[in-house]
């Protein structure tokens, strides 16, 4: 029986599909309907181990993509199709999909940071008329670490696709270098707004690169990662100064947080 009075209760949800995206990175398609927007996250439980904050990586269906790095994600890796995992959420502020309507969208991400961005891309593909254009800049460590590879390639007719890897192998014909190296020759369109997600150093370098091209801090939307235990603004783990990343974010306007320090 479920105790519905507590905000920490989880719903046990069946894994419909499991996809290996890259080494130690997996996507679960979940048998669940959820009212959410791209950029939001869920708390995912492996009962007996714990729970972890994971971005919703699709739209409008419920998928999560995660790397095997900690106790919870290791335990999730031992679950497969037909197994049940615990879910609560959605939590956090989504990407401002309404506000960016009619504008030129720049999406930037590195590594697993593509998960929430993919949710936005899927939203965009369902609502193409709403946006002027979408450009995606994505960097992976190497070609084998590029997640959603086939799907990304299928986007190439729908949006301006720019890929790079830090280290190439013999199969790689594209750009080599950091994701910012893709932007060197990029002409910033009018009425642009950028959304990015990735590790802290990437967020810093991308914001600097876009700033140099003339994009204002108000028009940069970033998605942050922090340690989260509750997801509802109580446990205190995800704070940056007075902000709770789980409540006030994880999606922030860069102008809102660039001056904050951990």
């Amino acid at each position: 029986m479920k105790n519905t009075s507590s905000s920490y209760d989880v719903e046990m949800v069946e894994i419909k599909e499991a996809v290996d995206e890259a080494l130690d990175i997996r996507t679960f398609v979940l048998d669940k309907k959820m009212d959410f927007r791209p950029g939001q996250f869920v708390m995912v439980s492996a009962l007996g181990i714990g729970d972890a904050a994971i971005s919703l990586s699709s739209y409008p269906d419920v998928q999560i993509t995660f790397r095997r790095v900690g106790n919870v994600t290791n335990a999730l890796f031992r679950r497969g199709v037909g197994d049940k995992i615990g879910i609560r959420g959605p939590y956090g502020k989504p990407y401002p999909t309404e506000e960016v309507k009619g504008r030129n969208i720049i999406l930037v991400s590195g590594g697993c940071g593509l998960a929430p961005i993919r949710s936005f891309v899927r939203y965009f593909l369902n609502n193409k008329g709403e946006f002027r254009s979408v450009s995606l800049f994505f960097g992976a460590r190497n070609p084998s670490m590029m997640l959603y590879k086939d799907e990304i390639l299928s986007w190439k007719d729908q949006l301006n696709l720019n890929l790079t890897v830090d280290q190439a192998d013999s199969s790689w014909k594209g750009n080599v270098g950091l994701v910012t190296s893709l932007m060197d020759s990029y002409q910033l369109p009018e009425n642009a707004v950028a959304m990015f997600c990735g590790p802290p150093f990437m967020i810093k370098s991308v914001s600097e690169a876009l700033s140099k091209k003339g994009l204002s801090d108000d028009n940069m939307i970033v998605s942050l990662e922090r340690n989260m235990k509750c997801g509802v603004g109580k446990c205190g783990h995800c704070t940056i100064e007075e902000k709770f990343v789980c409540l006030d974010g994880p999606v922030f306007r860069w102008s809102e947080i660039k001056h904050l320090h951990d």
């Binding site: 029986m1 479920k2 905000s7 009962l47 007996g48 714990g50 590790p199 235990k229 509750c230 704070t239």
Partner: protein, 306 residues
């Protein structure tokens, strides 16, 4: 009302039979059976936080990959002896945990009997934080010679004092005079400004034992952990946690956002004096000085106001 100290014992002893009755017994607030166990003469090392937010609390149980509700059967509780600063701390906690079903379920069972301070203890800083008086209580006790003046405010408190028989009422003018004497002996004018310089020395001295956060009445942070009982069952529990540990901000891939001690101590000081003020308009430090009392390296966070 005015109650002779000698007649308070009988009242408390009978209440301790009906309620889970907590009071300061020296180092901490404990459940008492008899009035004699109460220690009126000192500031407790630990705050009364654990009565409102247990150090470990089951959120739910699980077995065979299903969750089972953690039904609570909480008896009515009386907490006696919260000082004005503690009452401010409780007010902060109640506000912070608004909407948290577990907290609120316990909280509504608790009647709070405050105890006015008439002098400062060692390391008390309520004159800086303006927390030497509070009206956030069900009833407030003020020691006056052989008597206690008691302000009975809430219905819950009226129930407690219902059977006490005939007692003298406090004259409002006497109460006001007493409160203004207290106010004048504590009050201090002026704006507080944080100076970062002492934090550097704190971070050299501190060894992150986390005692400060565990004794603090307004440190509300917690961890959520799963405790296995068998291979397929156990409980999910929330446990007090501390921003002073590296673990607190560690994310997958072993990245720690506040890895150095300076950033962690700064976090605590600013959380208490500034960040919560930005969010709620009120700072969350209530000036009890317990973190100073308990620090083995004598770190005094109030030095940032020098």
């Amino acid at each position: 009302m005015i109650i002779k100290k000698s007649s308070l014992a009988a009242l408390f002893n009978s209440l301790a039979k009906k309620y889970d009755f907590y009071a300061p017994t020296g180092e901490s607030f404990e459940r008492i059976r008899s009035f004699d166990e109460i220690d009126f003469g000192r500031k407790t090392v630990y705050s009364a936080k654990k009565i409102f937010l247990p150090q470990a609390e089951q959120l739910f149980y699980f077995a065979n990959n299903n969750t089972i509700s953690a039904k609570k059967n909480i008896k009515p509780i009386i907490v006696f002896g919260l000082r004005p600063c503690d009452l401010h701390g409780l007010e902060y906690m109640d506000e912070f945990f608004r909407g948290d079903a577990l907290y609120e379920e316990r909280r509504k069972k608790i009647t709070v009997l405050g105890l006015q301070c008439t002098k400062c203890f060692k390391n008390c800083f309520c004159h800086l934080t303006n927390t030497y008086q509070s009206n956030y209580y069900d009833a407030l006790f003020i020691e006056a010679g052989d008597d206690f003046f008691i302000d009975v405010k809430s219905d819950a408190a009226k129930v407690i004092f219902r059977n006490i028989g005939h007692v003298k009422a406090v004259k409002e003018s006497d109460m006001n005079e007493l409160m203004s004497i207290i106010k004048n002996s504590f009050h201090r004018e002026g704006e507080l400004k944080i100076n970062d310089a002492p934090i550097d020395q704190f971070s050299k001295d501190c060894f992150s034992c986390c005692a400060c956060t565990s004794v603090c009445p307004t440190c509300t942070c917690f961890d959520i952990t799963d405790k296995p009982a068998t291979i397929s069952s156990g409980s999910r529990t929330r446990v007090w946690d501390s921003c002073q540990s590296q673990e607190f901000t560690r994310v997958a891939g072993d990245f720690v956002f506040r890895s150095d001690r300076f950033s962690r101590i700064k976090q605590r000081i600013y959380c208490k004096f500034d960040y919560t003020k930005r969010r709620t308009g009120k700072m969350s430090c209530i000036g009890c000085g317990r973190c100073v009392d308990v620090c083995t390296k004598n770190i005094n966070i109030f030095e940032v106001f020098k």
